[in-house]
Structures are given as C-alpha cells and as structure tokens.
Symmetry: C2
Subunit: 324 residues, 2 copies
C-alpha cells in the first residue's frame, strides 16, 4: 500500500506533467495559477487510495484523480466569485487577481477540461464513473445555492446545514473514493461502502473547517480566525448554538450578527463567549467524532484485509484532530 505522502508526491508530479499552457493564454493563465497552489489535494488522493485498496494500478486512476481536482478547483473559483472572497489560502482569488469575467470563464474551462480526464476510463467503468462525477457536480451546485440561501435566513436548522454541507462538500469526498474504488474493480457493495466512508469523512472535514475558523490557531490554519462570524456565515457552530440556546441567548446571538455598531474584533469576542457558554466547541467535536465513527464503520465492512485498511483508518482518525 502507498502512504498518503507517497500518493501526494505521485499526484503532484502527475499534475505537474499536464500541459495547461495553451492558447488563448489569458484563459489558461488563471488555470495554471489555481492548479499550482499547493492545496492538500485530499480529494484526488482519496481516489488513488481507494484504487490502491483493491489492488488496482494507481496510475490507472490518475486521470480521474485529475478530473476530481479540476472539478474541485472549478467550484472554488466560482464559489469565490459568489462569496466575493479576496483571498484563498492567503493567495489572491482568480477574480481578484484578474477579473470576474475571466474567473467565470476559467472556471467553465476547468470544468470542461475535467471531463476530458473523466473520459479516460475503460469502457466498462465509464458510465458509472461519469454518473458519479456528474451527480457530484450537480450536488456541488445545489449545495452552493443552499449556502447562498442561508445568507438571507436568520435561522437555519441543523438538518438544513447538514444537507447543504453534504451536497456542497461531502459529495465530492464520497465521489473521490467511489471513483477510485470503481477503477480498482471493487465489488459493488465495497464501492458503496467506500463512498459512504468518503462522504462521512467529508462531513467531518467540513465541521472541522467550521471549528478551526474560530477555535484554530491562526499560525496553523493560515487565515484569520473568526472570519465566518464577521461574514455572518451559518456554520455548524452557529446552527448548533441556535439549537441549544434559550430564547434570551438566541436574541443575543441574533443581535451580535445584526448590530452594525459592533466592530469585528468585538463581534467575534461576543459570539465566541456565547458559543463557549453553550459548549459549542465540545458539541462540534462530538459531531465530528460521530461522522468519523460512521466512516470507520463503513470501512470496517469493506471486504479487504485489515492491514490494508490501516491507512484509511488513520486518515479518518486524523480528521478529528487536524489543525489546518
């Protein structure tokens, strides 16, 4: 079995070999820029891992891992426009560095390029891979719309939040595993189990992201903590707090989010004080653990030797404690 680090290395090399320096150069510059940013590459590595677990040749799953990474980057570029985000991982977003028109078109192009890689499957697995890939892209769009809808809502239920995250984030984690398993020629039940493993891990990932935004160390996380609060984001912390708060606390929380007089630092401090009082850090950590446990339960049932599953087990457990 390959280690995570080996797969990261292999994937990065393969990504580096792709030639995206094409004409019209104005269009491909932001694509090269986006893809060269050293993200965690979690999703494509999931694909390689799933393939590896079933003894598949991981190099056969490289095109699909690339497709996953391109799809992910397409959603980032477009989401950043919609969220009016100036930075991502400390780097200027595409619409900030260039302009919005180009960011729209570069995103579209990445999405179209992604399908070129999806297509590089053998004919037997193409329909299943295509369907998974496609459904995920659609869920990402629908999840993003739900997230946008949340901006105009005072209250968002935990169920709605979970549905949104499931579509916007977790689906792609599930699909990454699913597609890798298909290429590794896993039996259908195992494909299903690994998809679930990925999807629940994706949920844990998103909740951990929400948690780190406020409770993470800025030096680890790489961005200013508390940004979600400043932007009035309906994160898991917020929906969990709203669920646990009494009417008086709800009012306080609501007024923190809606009082334009309160400066950003003070707003973060006030909201954090309420979250702390409601034990939100613990509550969120429990939810993360619960998703990780669901992941592990699915993994347990996958019909592969226990020792081959260790790497995925470790990966899931790391999701509970990751710092960035």
């Amino acid at each position: 079995m390959y280690s995570f680090e080996q797969l990261y290395q292999i994937f990065s090399e393969e990504l580096g070999k792709q030639n995206f320096t094409k004409n019209p150069k104005e269009l491909y510059e932001p694509i090269v820029y986006t893809l060269s940013q050293s993200g965690k590459r979690l999703r494509p590595i999931f694909t390689l891992m799933a393939c590896d677990l079933f003894g598949g040749d991981i190099y056969k799953s490289i095109p699909q891992a690339l497709a996953i990474e391109l799809l992910h980057n397409f959603t980032l570029i477009h989401d950043d426009i919609m969220d009016e985000a100036p930075l991502r991982h400390g780097q200027e977003t595409v619409h900030t560095r260039w302009n919005q028109k180009l960011a729209i078109l570069a995103g579209d192009t990445l999405y179209a390029l992604a399908y070129r890689y999806v297509m590089q499957s053998n004919i037997e697995s193409l329909p299943a891979i295509l369907e998974t890939f496609n459904n995920t892209a659609l869920e990402a769009c629908e999840g993003q719309q739900m997230d946008i809808n949340f901006e105009n809502l005072d209250v968002v239920s935990k169920d709605d939040y979970i549905l949104m995250s499931n579509y916007k984030t977790a689906a792609l984690f599930g699909a990454s595993m699913c597609i890798g398993a298909i290429i590794g020629e896993a039996p259908e039940e195992d494909v299903e189990l690994l998809s679930l493993y990925g999807r629940n891990l994706g949920m844990a990932f998103q909740l951990r992201d929400d948690l780190l935004d406020l409770y993470g160390e800025q030096k680890d996380f790489g961005k200013k903590t508390g940004l979600d609060i400043i932007e009035n984001k309906k994160t898991y912390l917020f929906v969990a707090a709203m669920e646990r708060a009494d009417n008086e606390t709800k009012k306080q929380l609501w007024s923190c989010y809606h009082d334009p007089q309160v400066g950003p630092e003070k707003k973060i401090a006030k909201v954090k004080a309420i979250f702390d009082r409601l034990n939100i850090e613990t509550v969120t950590n429990e939810a993360i653990e619960s998703y990780v446990n669901k992941s592990l339960e699915s993994l347990e049932k996958v019909n592969r030797p226990k020792e081959d599953k260790v790497i995925l087990e470790k990966l899931a457990k790391q999701m509970v404690s990751r710092k960035k």
Copy 2:
C-alpha cells in the same frame, strides 16, 4: 424524413416534458426561464436531422439534442454576464432578472445537467459522443476568451475573427450534426462530412448574424440594429472593412469607434456609410454564400440518397437569406 417544422415540434414537446422544477427552487427558476424562451432550437434540431438522415430513430437522439440545447443555454447565460447584456431576444437576461451570482450558478448547473443527457447513449457510441461534446464545450470557452480579447484590440485580422467564430459558434453546430450522425450509426466518413456541413453552416449563421445586426430589418430581427457598432464589436463587417480600407478610411473607422463625442445614432450612420462605401454588405454576403457552398459540398458527398438530403440542402440555402 421529418420536416424541420415537425422536428421543432417534437423537440419542443420533449423539452417540455423534462422536469427542471427542482430544489433549491432559486437555482432552477432561471433554468426553467431560460429553456422556456422560444429560440430557434437550430442546434438540437440539427442533431435530430442528422440522425434521421441515416434512418436512425430520432427519439434515440432526443437526450443528446437536449444536452446540446442545455450546453448552448449554459454558454448564453455566462456569455451574457461577461458581455453585460441586459436583454436577449427582447427578454431580460438571467443576471439582469435575478443577479450575477445566480446566473453563474444556474449556468454551471445547466452544464452539469447537460452531461446527464449526454450519458444516455448506448455504450458503443458514448465515448465518441462524449469527446465531441466535450471538445465543443472547450472550444466555446476558448472562443469566448478570444472574443473578449478582441475588445481590447484596435485591429483584428479576418483570420482571427474566423478562428474565434469557428470556436465560439460554429463548433457547436458541427457537434450537433456529428452527434446526431453517430446516433444514426452513420459510417465514420459521413459523420465527418456532416460535422463539416454543420460547422460551415455555423460560420454562415454567425456571419449572417453580424450582417443582420446592421442591415437587418428591426421588425424581423427583433433587436435594435447597429448594436454591435455601439458596443465596438469586432464583427465580420468590421474586420472585412479593415481589410479593404485604405489608410485614410481605416483612420476614419477607428475614430468613429473611439470618439466618445459621437452619439449612438450618428456613430451607426457614420460607420454604416464607411461600410457601404467599402461594399461590406456584398462582401459579407459573398462570404456567407461561400460557407454555405462548402456545407453543400460536404453534404453532396454524404453517402445517402439525394432525396433524403433535400431537407438539409434547403436548410443550408436558407442560411443565405434568413431574416432573423
């Protein structure tokens, strides 16, 4: 053989049967709105026609015809944002009626939905259809970028204009025919010939569009004539004029496009006077005829009975004289 009108009817009915009223409803409203606008539906009908020509069951090509129509509408929504167009065919564009964020996301969703239809091919023809569809989507993005680049150029060569139109517009006409022919199980040479027929017809379509913008009757064309001039678009008329003009006329044309003092009506009149002096209407009509002739030459070589090709022959000839 089905007539154009019959195919229009059948396609419209099939499109009407599709259920795009889904959740989140905010996302699907603009999709329903866009698809319900009664365009010419030229591209999906091309697909049905090509299938019909080879004796294929046209209903088998309905999913791909839908995919083509969705892809086309995706490009329209995103192009309209980039072009800052308030109206399309007299109706508010999606970003005007709703907002830009939603227009980006509705476009993305249409594109993802398009692939759902592409997938509904039999397994033997799926790779070829997917490749054609994909290449076309990429060419549309690249062509749009070339078009955007033209905005900042004083001079655009005719060759560059033709390359741009070929990518931005004609590729999809070619792909529509190509995919229909594949589903109709046409031999490879005939698929190629019909693709060429479609692509050249697409070029004729674009040049006719450019021509009608200035020389069309407003009542037929449905939009104000001369808009391209007001927007400083590098149309075929413009590039042909620049090619034919002496230095003095080039300067005049250039100053018409760059003098902010000249009001829109006067600008149109001045530019039109130069175009008239250079015989641009005739020159453009000759170019259109030349593309239509290339289409007819390809059609001629397609190995089908002459009487079955009459409908495509008629369609090509209509491209020379279409008024809207």
